[in-house]
Amino acid sequence: MSGPSIHVERLVFAYPDGRQALYGVDFTIQRGERVALLGPNGAGKTTLVLHLNGILGSVAGGSGSGRIQIGGSDLHREHLPEVRRKVGLVFQDPDDQLFMPTVRDDVAFGPANLGLRGSELEDRVQEALVQVGMQDHADIAPHHLSYGQRRRVAVATVLAMRPEVLVLDEPSSNLDPASRRELADILSGLDVTLLMITHDLPYALQLCERSLLMDAGRIVADGETRDLLGDAELMAAHRLELPYGFDPLSVPGPER
C-alpha cells in the first residue's frame, strides 16, 4: 500500500432527506498515525467516517461530491470489497454491528468472508474474544448481552479481521473503566492506522498524538492533541471542555 492511509478532499454530502452534513472536508492521515476525531454532537463525525469504506457517499449511490483515497487509490465502486477488507469500522451503535445468532458466529463472520476456515478461523475468533474479555460469552446471542458487552463484541468483530486501517466511532462509551483502559492498551499495541471518534478528551490525549476537530460539517482544527486541548478559546468555541481538575500537561500522552 503506497500513499497516505486516508486522504479526503473537498468532501460534501447530504442525507437523502436533504440535510447536508458535510460541507467540504479535507485531511490526510499517514500510515501508522493515530488520530482522534473530536467535535460536538451533530458535527458530522459519524457521517464522515461512514464515507471511509464506501458506506455513505457517492460510491454508495448517495448525493455528494469530493474525493476519498484509501492507501493511495481512489474509492471506486469496483474496489469496495477490497477497501472494506482494509478499513475496519466499529459503529457507534453496537446493535448496528451485530447480526448473527451467536457472538462466536458474529466475530467469525468477517474472517470467514476473508476466506479463513477451520482451526485458523477458530483461533482468530478466540483471540479477538480474549482481547476484549468476552471469551466466556461466545455462545450467547448478541442481543442477550448488556450494552457494554455488546460494544466489546463489536470491537472484537473488527479486530478479528486484522484491518490495516481501524476506524472507531466512540469505542469507549458505555465501557466500564477497566475495559476502557484495556481497550486503550489493545489499541496502542496494534500496528495499524487509527482514526478514533471520541468525546472523552483525556482518552484522546492518552491514545492519539494528533487530533482533528470537526464542527458543522467542516474540519476546524488539525494538530497535536495536546496543543488543541490546551487552546481554551478553540475548545470553548466548539463545545469541548476538559473534565474538572484535569490538566492536559499533567498526562504523559501516547508513547511511540
Binding site: I55, R84, D96, Q97, F99, F109, N113
Partner: protein, 255 residues
Amino acid sequence: MSGSAGDGLLVVVDSRIHRLPAQVKIVALFVFVLAVVSTPAGVFWAFALYAVLLAACVALAKLPVATVMRRLAVETPFLVFALVLPFVATGPQIDVLGVSVSESGILGSWNVLAKGTLGVVAAIVLSASTAPRELLAGLERLRLPSTLVAILSFMIRYLSVVSDDLHRMRIARESRGYAGGRAGHLKAVAGGVGALFVRSFERGERVHLAMQSRGYTGRMPQLATSGAARNQWLEGLTISLLAVLIAVTARVASL
C-alpha cells in the same frame, strides 16, 4: 432487549428430523401434501393413516405436542369456513338432527378440514425443525432464483428487526404512561406504524452496511449447506413415499 424472532419458529432440540438437510424436508413436505390433497375425501381410513404418519414425524422430531397444538391456531379461519360450508352450499340436502344441510357441503367441509389440518401439521413439522437460515439454504439448493432468495433472506432478517423494533416501541410507549385503546391515541398508533417502517428499514440498512463492511458479498459464509447424501434423501422421503403409497391405494380402493 427480549428474545428476537431470529430463530423464527424453530424448536431447539436435536433430532433425526432436525439434522436432515432443509432441501430434503421441503421436497418431502411437498410430496406429502400432494399425496394428501389428491386423496378422495371419502376414503376416511387413508386420512387416519396420514395422521398416524404425521404423529410419528412429530414424535421423531421431538416436538412438544402442546406447541404443535398452539400453532394449529393458524387454521382457525379454515375451521370457520368448514363449519359454514354445509349451511351455505347448494345441492341435495339431508337432515342432520333436524337441520337441513347440504350433502356436498358436509363432504366439502370434511375435505377442507382434513386436508387443511394435515397440511398445517406437516408445515409445522418443517418450520419447527428447520432454522430460517437453513430453509433459505435449502431453497437455494433447490434452485430458487437468486433474486427471490435475496428478497427472502432480507425478509427473514428484517422480520426480527421489525419485531424487535415493535417490542422496543411498546416498552417505550408504556413507560411513558401510555394506557392504550383510547381513540385519541389512534393518531399516535398510525404515526407509529409509519415511523416503524422507516425506522426498521434504516436499522436494517445500517446492519446491511455493517455486513458489507465486513466483506459480505451476498452469501452467508457458512450458509451453503452441503448437498444431501442419497441416504438422507431416502430417509427424509420415507414418510412422504408412504403417504404416496396410501394415496394410490386409496384411489384404487375407492374406484
